[in-house]
């Protein structure tokens, strides 16, 4: 999958799960510090990404991803072009 498409989908899912508009989300944003994702929201986000990308993620690894950019890189590695 192309990295641009992954980035678009990561932002869309993040906006939906954290109940905010997509244009508020920047690539360098930290899910917890900038976007307010608490520990429960973080797990819900991972669950939403699993659904979006139809993946069964390694939970501990997925929860180590802290930023929007980091998530894009993480999925780009799992979903090569």
């Amino acid at each position: 999958m192309k990295k641009e498409e992954i980035a678009e989908r990561v932002i869309r899912v993040t906006a939906r799960e954290l109940k905010m508009s997509e244009d508020r989300i920047q690539p360098e944003h930290h899910f917890a510090h900038d976007l307010g994702a608490d520990s429960l929201k973080a797990i819900e986000l991972v669950a939403a990404f699993e659904e979006e990308f139809e993946l069964d993620l390694e939970e501990e690894e997925a929860l180590k991803v802290k930023t929007v950019d980091g998530a894009v890189d993480y999925f780009a590695e799992l979903l090569p072009e």
Partner: protein, 462 residues
């Protein structure tokens, strides 16, 4: 202060020689214990415990029954057989004592004897008068406890006797026991509030003199009864509350060996279990207990606690079947109608249930982090979580996986159960709930989100 360097290790040091997890954690002594008695330092060596024949005696049917309505014969027979299975064939639970006063008491002894079990041995309990001794003889028992109260509170205020009259009466009954070939076990009632030098020691010396030439099976036994729970385990406590000093005087001044000494405690000051363990450590071989600590007022040393202490001191299960504790707890609550507090160690509903999310997280990654030993294997009780707003997604994952009986790779991850956790949090944040989530509610959620797994689990349980 010299700073110790941090030790870098490749593998964690889990101190397995003390916390093996496969059995309860062990108690290891490194040296002798010292006590000052009459200005002299004396020593006790707790390391001798490994070789000593320490054991548990039971008074569930005597003191235990004084705190509740009488058990039926069927109940007592069932409990007796479970005690036998729990204590195993090495006789860790060596004896249990019965009242002899009613027909039901005597018929129950016959029913238990007819089970043909080696342990626990059946002994009796009577008040110290000749008339009552007839009951022991009629039942053909080899040993009986005799109530020999020894504080002046009892002698003067209850029995309205002088010390001489009390001692003469007690000795007369002991002589009758010996004539009938029954081993006397004198229960020194209220000994932790008694005048040791003025009554207890003279009395026990005379008892010893009376039986010192008898064969071993008739030599007097002494039960040290901490009737009001006044006994203290600490070193160098003043008499008569000092357990170490009391034991030392029984052995050194009265000649009563450890195999003829027994401790009987009460829990009025929350010291009942540790006082029993202390008696073991300082040289008494038998600790008298009741199941779940049921007994007069605040109760007696809990038998289950003594069993755990025994394993910890011996470093081995010694034939003990700990799963019977779970059977007994279920039986007492379901059939006997007794109430065991939810947080009661080893047997209460929640004894290994965590409500804290951080603990549930630990349990999920490695059960040993938040379990006292392998309660799943030894007691048939896997660690559990109770779900509240504090238990977290880890708690929900643990509960759901346990409920569904999923193991290894099949266990559901946090992301799979997070919808249930969101429902839980909404209960508190949006609905204003203040109570824990019930198991029935959680089952409904599992059925909603994992219908196939739920159906499989239900059919397995049927």
């Amino acid at each position: 202060m010299e700073l110790r360097p941090l030790e870098h290790v490749q593998e964690p040091n889990l101190i397995k020689e003390i916390f093996p997890h496969s059995i309860p954690p062990l108690i290891r002594f490194e040296d002798r214990i010292r006590e000052t008695i009459d200005g002299e330092e004396v020593e006790f060596d707790p390391r001798s415990m490994i070789d000593r024949d320490i054991h548990i005696t039971d008074t569930t049917f005597r003191d235990g029954q004084q705190s509740r309505p009488p058990y039926t014969r069927k109940q007592m027979t069932r409990i007796f057989s479970m005690l036998s299975k729990l204590g195993g064939t090495q006789g860790v639970i060596r004896q249990t004592e019965f009242f002899l006063y009613t027909k039901n008491d005597r018929d129950t002894i016959d029913a238990c004897r007819n089970l043909g079990l080696r342990y626990p041995e059946i002994t009796g309990w009577i008040r110290a008068n000749i008339g009552d001794f007839r009951l022991v003889k009629e039942m053909g028992l080899k040993e009986s406890g005799l109530l020999t109260s020894c504080s002046d509170f009892h002698i003067f205020h209850k029995q309205k006797q002088t010390r001489q009259q009390a001692m003469d009466q007690y000795l007369e009954v002991v002589e009758a026991a010996l004539e009938a070939g029954v081993r006397p076990r004198c229960h020194l009632e209220d000994v932790t509030r008694a005048d040791l030098r003025g009554f207890v020691i003279p009395f026990v010396q005379r008892l010893e003199r009376l039986t010192e030439n008898q064969s071993d099976h008739l030599r007097v036994k002494i039960r040290l009864c901490d009737t009001m729970g006044f006994g203290l385990s600490f070193p160098n406590v003043a008499e008569p509350r000092s357990i170490p000093k009391l034991i030392w005087r029984m052995k050194e001044e009265c000649g009563i060996s450890g195999d003829r000494l027994e401790w009987h405690g009460h829990n009025d000051f929350h010291k009942v279990h540790i006082n029993g363990a202390t008696a073991w450590i300082y040289g008494v071989d038998a600790v008298n207990t009741t199941l779940f600590g049921f007994g007069e007022r605040t109760g007696n040393p809990p038998l289950e606690g003594a069993v755990m202490e025994y394993i910890a001191l011996k470093g081995d299960l010694c034939g003990i079947d700990l799963s019977v504790i779970t059977e007994l707890a279920e039986y007492f609550q379901r059939d006997v109608g007794a109430s065991i507090p939810a947080n009661y160690p080893f047997a209460g509903r929640d004894f290994n249930t965590t409500r804290a999310g951080i603990h549930a997280g630990g349990l999920r990654s490695n059960e040993e982090i938040y379990t006292i030993f392998d309660t799943r294997e030894l007691l048939g009780r896997p660690p559990r979580v109770a779900i509240t707003d504090k238990s977290g997604t880890d708690g929900v994952a643990l509960w759901v996986n346990e409920f569904l009986g999923l193991e290894g790779d099949k266990r559901l991850s946090l992301t799979k159960v997070v919808k249930i956790q969101r429902w839980v949090m909404n209960q508190y944040e949006k609905e204003g709930r203040l109570t824990a989530i019930s198991e029935e509610e959680l089952e409904e959620q599992v059925e909603l989100h994992f219908p196939e797994l739920y159906a499989q689990a239900r059919s397995r349980r049927k």
